[in-house]
């Protein structure tokens, strides 16, 4: 049983698009960050699909690197967001506007 690679690519494209829209629309820093993670996972899906289609493992190896880097980003990102929350009791990015725009 196999599904044509095209469907995976469309799915990944949709996931990425949802991620972009979410980043632009949502105002909570943590939710924005979750949408970025969704974008990264869409990329992972594309890499795995192409790797499978072409019979090479390069793409799958890259996915592991993406996962590790995403984990590192979570650590740093949640640290920064919780620091902000401690001082402002809010993680709404619209209220974080001390610096001149």
């Amino acid at each position: 049983m196999s599904v044509a690679p095209g469907f995976y690519l469309v799915l990944a494209g949709l996931m990425f698009a949802i991620g972009v829209v979410g980043v632009l629309v949502r105002r909570n820093a943590i939710v924005i960050f979750m949408f970025v993670e969704l974008m990264l996972n869409a990329v992972n899906l594309i890499f795995v699909t192409f790797a499978r289609q072409q019979g090479t493992v390069d793409g799958q190896v890259l996915v592991f690197f993406v996962l590790v880097v995403a984990a590192a980003e979570v650590v740093v990102g949640l640290g920064i967001i919780s620091l902000i929350f401690r001082y402002r009791v809010s993680s709404n990015v619209d209220e974080i506007n001390l610096l001149k725009r």
Binding site: F33, V43, V66, E73, G77, L83
Partner: protein, 491 residues
């Protein structure tokens, strides 16, 4: 796993340890600094700085030992040591030493987490050093993340300061978003060619892939545009520079930005030059927007760090001009564009770090970052005023500083490639830029000081600024110093 490896014909590649020696020394130094910090008493934490400096000098020694050893390709072709890699490794290490000098008193007096800062800074520097040698998509991705992620923490190092937190959050959100976009572009390039090595991508690109490749390059460029703060992806830069500790702003504006450019140059000249016709307009548009908008907003700035941030955005635009000149098959003009970009980045790093150093020196002990307060600096501290004026004049691209040649070479490359529009826009922008840089110089030299006492500059910072300024003058007098290096760095 073995079976799988045999199936795809993979073999364990031998590692050329000498080729990766600079990275190993720098990584070891970062670990030693982190551990040493644990055992140092509070009043000796500053020792992390000399330790880091020793490590960077060791890295420089390893880089020098690789000069003349020929091109070395290791880690299955993902890591190459050639003239280009060595030049930028050297540039990153020299800038690293400059940033250490800027950081020393700032972090020692400010009672920050010194050990952690130097550790993070070394890690980020390591990312830049790796980026110089990265020749496949995985290594480029890892290098750019290694530059960025410690940067997010460094930007928020002043934990109790809401502005610093905000700087870190903005930098973080834009940073992760840009990596995701860049990766999407990389995944499309992989899909079109089935290769991660840049040479492989270039060899397997065919005309049939064109729509996919255009999309791929577009996303990759957008991802990098955030990192190099090109308009319209520049919003984070001025806020982050202002909010983060000033030495970190200097780091982000030099090493981090140059790291992004190195990745972009490698990708565009090594992987995608044969389809340049499709993506050259993207760069031309980015370059024009970045130069013009950066300079226009810089005109209105009253805060020296924000001025340097916006002018740094405009400076990115000049390098983007060089990237917008690539044409498939036009070897001579491509080489000229390449060399002009390399020269620009090397000179830009030194002059920008120097300007930040002068701003940090002025701001310590109750000084301020507002340009108002620079009036009459000549009467108070003639040396500091002269040095800052030198760096600003260099950034403006006027003789007698190296920045002049940086701009001239890009301009000549644009003429050579017959991109007259870009050359004209660049020339006009250079005039606008000279206006706001020289306004600061005029304030320092021709206006009256409100305060009389001299600005005291620590010896480390004085030596660092003096050497940077001397290097800029030397390159102006004898441009062969950099053109020679640029010629050797040709791919």
């Amino acid at each position: 796993m073995m079976e799988l490896a045999q199936q795809v014909g993979a073999t364990a590649a031998a590692v050329d340890w000498h080729a990766i020696a600079p990275e190993l020394v720098l990584a070891a130094t970062a670990c030693i600094v982190l551990v040493a910090d644990l055992f140092l008493p509070d009043d000796a934490k500053w020792l992390a700085m000399p330790l880091s400096a020793a490590g960077i000098i060791g890295t420089l020694a390893a880089i020098v030992s690789l000069i003349g050893a020929g091109n070395r390709l290791t880690l299955a072709g993902a890591f190459e040591v050639d003239g280009f890699a060595l030049l930028f490794k050297g540039v990153f290490c020299v800038l690293g030493l400059l940033i250490l000098a800027i950081s020393f008193h700032y972090f020692r007096v400010g009672r920050y987490y010194q050990g952690e800062y130097y550790f993070l800074m070394l890690c980020s520097l390591l990312g830049g050093v790796v980026m110089s040698s990265a020749r496949d998509l995985v290594t480029i991705f890892i290098a750019i993340e290694l530059i960025s992620i410690p940067g997010f923490i460094m930007a928020g190092l002043r934990k109790g300061d809401a502005k610093s937190n905000e700087a870190a959050l903005k930098f973080f959100l834009f940073g992760v978003l840009s990596s995701a976009v860049m990766l999407y572009g990389m995944s499309l390039a992989y899909g079109a060619t089935g290769e991660l090595l840049l040479e492989g991508i270039r060899a397997k690109l065919t005309a049939a892939d064109e729509p996919l490749i255009v999309l791929s390059v577009f996303f990759i460029v957008v991802g990098f545009a955030f990192k190099i703060s090109a308009v319209p992806f520049h919003f984070w830069a001025p806020d982050t520079y202002e909010g983060s500790p000033s030495p970190v702003a200097a780091f982000l504006s030099t090493i981090s930005k140059i790291g992004g450019f190195v990745g972009l140059i490698v990708l565009m000249f090594r992987a995608f030059p044969d389809v340049a016709d499709t993506w050259r307009p993207i760069f031309a548009l980015l370059a024009i927007l970045t130069m013009t908008v950066g300079n226009m907003i810089a005109l209105r700035q009253t805060h020296i760090i924000r001025l340097l941030a916006y002018s740094g955005i405009a400076q990115s635009g000049y390098v983007l001009v060089a990237l917008a000149l690539i044409e498939p098959g036009a070897t001579a003009s491509n080489e000229q564009a390449f060399q002009s970009a390399v020269i620009y980045l090397a000179i830009y790093g030194i002059m920008d770090a120097g300007a930040f150093a002068a701003a940090v020196a002025f701001a310590r002990r109750g000084g301020s970052y507002f340009i108002e307060d620079y009036s009459g600096l000549w009467q108070r501290s003639p040396v500091l005023a002269t040095l800052l004026a030198g760096f600003l004049i260099s950034l403006a691209g006027t003789p007698p500083m190296a920045g002049f040649w940086a701009k001239v070479f890009v301009f000549l490359a644009a003429i050579e490639a017959q991109s007259y529009l870009l050359a004209i826009v660049m020339g006009l922008n250079a005039v606008v830029a000279a206006w706001y840089y020289l306004a600061v110089v005029k304030k320092m030299f021709f206006e009256k000081a409100e305060l009389a006492e001299p600005v005291e500059v620590p010896a480390v910072l004085r030596v660092a600024m003096g050497l940077a300024a001397a290097a800029l003058v030397a390159v102006f007098v004898y441009p062969r110093l950099v053109t020679e290096l640029a010629e050797r760095s040709l791919f």
